[in-house]
């Protein structure tokens, strides 16, 4: 996997918490800047299909990605740009996929948030909500068969996805098998336009943990420090053999469902609550307040992010689009068993 963005940020050793915090913050920043760039390309008509942003979700996402190690599994969802970067996905995978480049990991066959590299533990989501969790279970089961120890698997879900049968079957399966699954549910108050009260009736989604016999954790998703601690702690628990961990993080989606959506339906009430804060602003203030970074460092980081993003976009824009004539129209790895490669079939 390409690690265009890795060098500058991973430079510092993550020996102490302020350093981890800074590192996490810089992934968040990079994700934010990268997504803003894609959004502007979208507005300029340069992106085909949907564009989905993680604005407001970076703290939760990065805390998940950063807690994972090589050999772990990560099944991100649509708002996980920050976590993907922290887990090790290259920024180029992001731009190449959004631009449908032949050289991207999805080769133009799939786009936008539907990308991954299964060999490196990064699962390419299918759209059907909830469907990735049991796939993570299976990878963890395989680790168990193969005698790999100490690995974990994390999957992201939204409040809305908790209503799917797939969510239920898979968390239950993980509980029965005592798998080291970390299920991060980001309750951003809405599923597309649908508010929580039309989605579930429990007072807190974490109340579901008891009914599955798994540990439950809640966290303020706007606060990077809490996210690093709670999610990091849950990952540790899973790693040490304590079975599945359900984390419910609260925040507000600070963008449309996709960039086509003006999200007018989001109640202004939420915007005034602490959960309506922008986690990047919160983290920035925290950095400054604690003296873990000063204004000029923030400026440098922002500039560095812009440079990386511009490079990744420029690179992707130069890459050739897929060529249907050279495309291998074959859905099987055993090519001789595939049918219908002629247009007539």
């Amino acid at each position: 996997m390409l690690h265009l963005a890795e060098a500058p940020i991973r430079a510092g050793k993550a020996s102490d918490f302020p350093e981890t915090y800074r590192r996490a913050f810089r992934w968040m920043l990079l994700a934010r800047v990268a997504e803003e760039k894609i959004a502007s390309l979208f507005r300029g008509g340069r992106i085909t299909g949907g564009v989905f942003l993680g604005k407001g979700q970076e703290a939760i996402s990065v805390a998940t990605g950063i807690a994972l190690k090589e050999g772990d599994i990560f099944a991100p969802l649509i708002r996980d740009q920050a976590g993907r970067l922290a887990f090790g996905e290259s920024l180029l995978d992001f731009t190449l996929t959004y631009l449908g480049a032949r050289s991207g990991p999805m080769r133009g066959r799939d786009g936008n948030v539907h990308r991954g590299r299964p060999r490196e533990g990064l699962l390419p989501m299918i759209s059907h909500l909830g469907a990735m969790v049991s796939v993570v279970n299976g990878m963890l089961l395989a680790h168990r068969f193969q005698g790999k120890k100490g690995t974990v698997g994390a999957a992201s879900l939204g409040d809305g996805a908790t209503s799917t049968g797939a969510f239920h079957e898979s968390i239950n399966q993980a509980a029965v098998e005592k798998l080291p699954l970390i299920l991060v549910v980001t309750n951003n108050q809405y599923a597309y336009s649908t508010p929580n009260e039309r989605q579930f009736a429990c007072s807190d989604l974490v109340d579901k943990a008891l009914g599955y016999g798994v540990n439950g954790h809640t966290v303020d998703g706007t606060d990077l420090e809490s996210c690093l601690q709670i999610i990091g702690g849950a990952v540790q628990l899973a790693r040490e053999g304590n079975g599945p961990q359900l984390i419910v993080a609260s925040n507000l989606r600070l963008a449309g469902h996709g960039e086509h959506d003006d999200s007018h339906y989001i109640s202004s009430h939420f915007k005034e609550l602490p959960l309506g804060r922008d986690c990047i602003e919160v983290a920035q203030n925290h950095l400054l307040g604690k003296g873990w970074a000063d204004a000029s460092a923030l400026e440098v980081w922002t500039r560095e992010c812009a440079v990386q993003v511009d490079e990744a976009v420029a690179h992707a824009l130069r890459e050739p689009a897929p060529d249907p004539a050279q495309e291998e129209w074959c859905a099987l790895s055993h090519r001789h068993l595939a049918e219908g490669n002629s247009a007539k079939f």
């Binding site: 799939d110 689009a321 049918e339 247009a343």
Partner: protein, 320 residues
């Protein structure tokens, strides 16, 4: 001018107006008006009858079936046809078997925003009509025109049997008509969209327009291609197709779905068995390729049949 999407909205509006048993249920279809705005304004006009559902396709379908048994006429919007695979069991095993098992009809309408558009990719582009048609007990409608989007949806809601309504997203905004129709062919009747004498193209949904363009192209060289819009793929109006083949002697079936066991297979099997002696040349079919639907427009444009590939197939069929 009214679009295909607006026709779908108008049909739902009319159904809500004329029949108190009708209600709509689906993700984000209430105040928000739906992912495609097919129910825009309806929640406001019909309070309590246009209901946001949780992301629970199985329960959405199950509850529709229960309500139908109890005298209601639910119309369910799947956000994309592709997600109906999660509610599949309720549709094919509960709704579709209800009448045969119990003698009670199960009048539900399931709207499936179907088909490919550029950039939609493998999970927002599927055409699932053949899946549902394979199971006994369902009616499968595939409107290709603004008029049919309206009249077939109204008829679907009025029918006592479960209907899978495959509306094509590619036509939502593109396709326009002067006005909504007053009368219409009934469910089960195909329509001759263009008359011809040299060959018959049998198709449905978005592919109708590609086929008409191909016919137009061949007309420049004097070929007269008859184009049939199936409208309903179950029941499938074999008679109209046979009558056309009796006139032209040649048939090409075109579908946007995958080839194996799709509409084109069913059409050709019927024509081969019942119209064998009417054929002057081997029948032909054209489908999307046997892979998932690609995201990139370059690939997508090659994956599905187009006017160009249909015209080429027709030249083959006519042995040009």
């Amino acid at each position: 001018m009214i679009t295909y999407l607006e026709a779908i909205r108008e049909a739902q509006k009319k159904a809500l107006e004329i029949d108190p048993r009708v209600y709509l249920y689906g993700q984000d279809i209430g105040a928000f008006g739906g992912a495609f705005k097919a129910t825009k304004g309806l929640a406001q006009t019909f309070p309590g009858r246009v209901i946001d559902s949780p992301i629970s396709e199985d329960a959405m379908m199950g509850s529709a079936i229960g309500a139908a048994l109890q005298g209601m006429r639910p119309v369910i919007e799947m956000q994309f046809a592709d997600f109906s695979t999660v509610g599949f069991n309720q549709i094919v095993n509960q709704a579709a078997t209800m009448f045969w098992r119990t003698g009670e009809s199960c009048p539900i309408t399931v709207r499936l925003p179907s088909g490919g558009t550029p950039g939609s990719g493998p999970f927002h582009s599927q055409n699932l009509e053949a899946l549902y048609a394979h199971y006994p007990g369902l009616i499968i409608l595939t409107p290709a025109t603004v008029e049919d989007a309206y009249s077939l949806l109204l008829e679907a809601i009025a029918l006592d049997d479960p209907v899978i309504f495959c509306e094509h997203k590619y036509l939502y905004y593109h396709l326009k008509a002067e006005s909504l129709p007053e009368t219409a062919l009934p469910v089960g009747k195909a329509r001759i969209a263009r008359t011809g004498r040299d060959a018959t193209v049998v198709t449905y949904s978005a592919m109708l327009h590609e086929a008409l363009a191909a016919a137009e192209e061949l007309a420049e060289n004097g070929w007269e291609i008859e184009v049939i819009d199936l409208r309903s793929i179950k029941p499938l109006d074999t008679d109209t197709v046979l009558a056309s083949v009796a006139r032209t002697g040649r048939i090409l079936a075109v579908g946007e779905a995958w080839p194996w066991g799709g509409v084109t297979a069913e059409v050709l099997a019927r024509i081969a068995t019942d119209g064998f002696n009417l054929l002057d040349a081997p029948p032909m079919r054209l489908n999307s390729k046997d892979t998932p639907v690609p995201f990139h427009p370059n690939l997508w444009g090659t994956h599905r049949p187009t006017a160009r590939t249909i015209a080429n197939a027709l030249r083959d069929l006519l042995r040009l």
